[in-house]
Amino acid sequence: MIHDRYQLAFRLYPYERAADQDAKTPVRHPVVVMGGGPIGVATALDLGLQGIPVVVLDDHEGIGQGSRAICFAKRSLEIADRYGCAAPMLEKGVVWNLGKVFHDDRKVFEFNLSPEEGHKFPAFINLQQPYFERFLVERVRAAQAAGAPIQIRGRNRVEGVTLHDDHATLEITTPDGPYSIEADWLIGCDGAGSPLRGMMGLDFEGRVFEDSFLIADIRMTNDTFPTERWFWFEPHFKSGASTLLHKQPDGIWRVDFQIGWDVDRKEELKEENIRARLDAMLGEVDYEIVWTSIYTFQCRRMQKFRHGRVIFAGDAAQQVSPFGARGANSGMQDVDNLGWKLGLVVRGKAPETLLDSYDVERIQGADENILNSTRATDFITPKSAVSHCFRNAVLDLAEHYAFARPLVNSGRLSVPCNYDVSPLNGVDALPGSPPCTRPGSPCPDAPLDDGFLLDRLGGDFVLLGLNADLPDTLEEGGIAVRPVSLTSAQDGSGALSARYLGQAASGVYLIRPDQHVVARWTAFEETACRGALRRACGLE
């Protein structure tokens, strides 16, 4: 019997008996994903769209309730766009730019995210996690209808994993009883409490933060609050040591109260107690409580994300504090990074060792996220008297002097990682070009006369020529490179040139399937380009 651990927002993958359950011997699959959350489903989508068969196992029949991750960064939307499901996210999501910071009863300052012009997607959208997940699953359904070899098996709980040199065997419980399957590759996307990590006895060390946060999602009857992010340090209404107010779709607002470490959860979650905090903050306003939760957090990561034929992604591999929206957004970058590499390895076009670069690159990403979210947490919840004194001194000064404002840290919003130390990077041989597109960087978007640059990149290797001659085709070791030729004539805004050429008159970029730069040169030179491609595929 499999009991639900949580209530569902959307029942999208009800249990169905699979042919594997009637097989005499365990059926072998190229890729099995444990966990049908956003990271597991995105992994399946990435691989399935490449034509790689993938099976997702989840012990529930759909998406859990609760808004949870509510800020999705531009990079996550760009990745989702590559999978073909960003449009409904953008349509449903709330775009916000203005943030206000308060201390006690005073506004300290406000900031505008004022996103750089010329990107298809905004810096951030606010969207309840269940919607984000639903749009991914709906995209899976459309891909399946078009022949993508993806299976999502609801109410399939993995009870045991046996590891072998070249595969893993999984023991699975279902409402129809147990069965086994084998996986050439097993991807652990089973969340912060990862049962897979537990079964394998793997480490998950890090720093515990001794504080609790109470979340209340409320629907305002009279929707008069502006679409802004409001953050209070030591609010005068005394509802928490800090408080965050953020808008979501459907007229719902997220309120986060920092309520201390030693709290009686049951008592705090009583509606009358939550309402007392909300009333003190909001005054005479009518609202309905939609969802509440208390969370604590740690900043930690696994020492290695790849363990032979088992690879971890998302919260299963790393956990950060929520400040800065680096959880789900980091997980989406894990998927983006792993998908094409695993695709090449499964197809036999790249050696298994290519997957070690996933470890290098995403551990760099995890460390960057942990560093940023730890610093924000230390600022928001100072751990000593002197730290508290400095924090309040910064807030006092920030109210009057611009110099102190960059020191105010209520969360540094998630930006994608530049894989500067990646073993896959090639040369940076384009004199005069800007650092934002150096090898290892995620390609910044730019408007073209008929759409956006990122629409032309990704999915496979691209050779991007800017005012440069390219060959019609290029193939190395069975890996095809797609030439994309652009000229200044298509760059009316000048953004493409500013972001990719700088002072250079022409340039050639080799770009990975996850839209990160491998190498750049002034002009196409075949030997150099082939070498860079081989290096980016782990072939040398």
Binding site: N372, R375, D378, F379, S384, A385, V386, S387, F390, V394, D396, L397, E399, H400, Y401, A402, F403, R405, P406, L407, N409, R412
Partner: protein
């Protein structure tokens, strides 16, 4: 010359983290002593009497 009040610290988060780390494990009295020494070291670096007077006034009465 007037004191700069525009942002002038590269990597503000890194600086702030080092500032807090400098106090790790100290008692409040020890931290106050570190802060006093730090102020004197930075004051010496500034040197200019007029600028120091402005800084003292800003710290004592922010925004006035």
């Amino acid at each position: 010359m007037s004191l700069t009040t525009d942002p002038n610290i590269p990597d503000p988060d890194g600086f702030y983290a080092r500032l807090i780390a400098c106090h790790e494990g100290l008692s409040e009295a020890e931290s106050a002593a570190v802060n006093a020494r730090l102020i004197l070291i930075l004051a010496n670096q500034i040197g200019d009497a007029d600028m120091l007077a402005q800084a003292l006034e800003m710290a004592r009465h922010p925004g006035q």
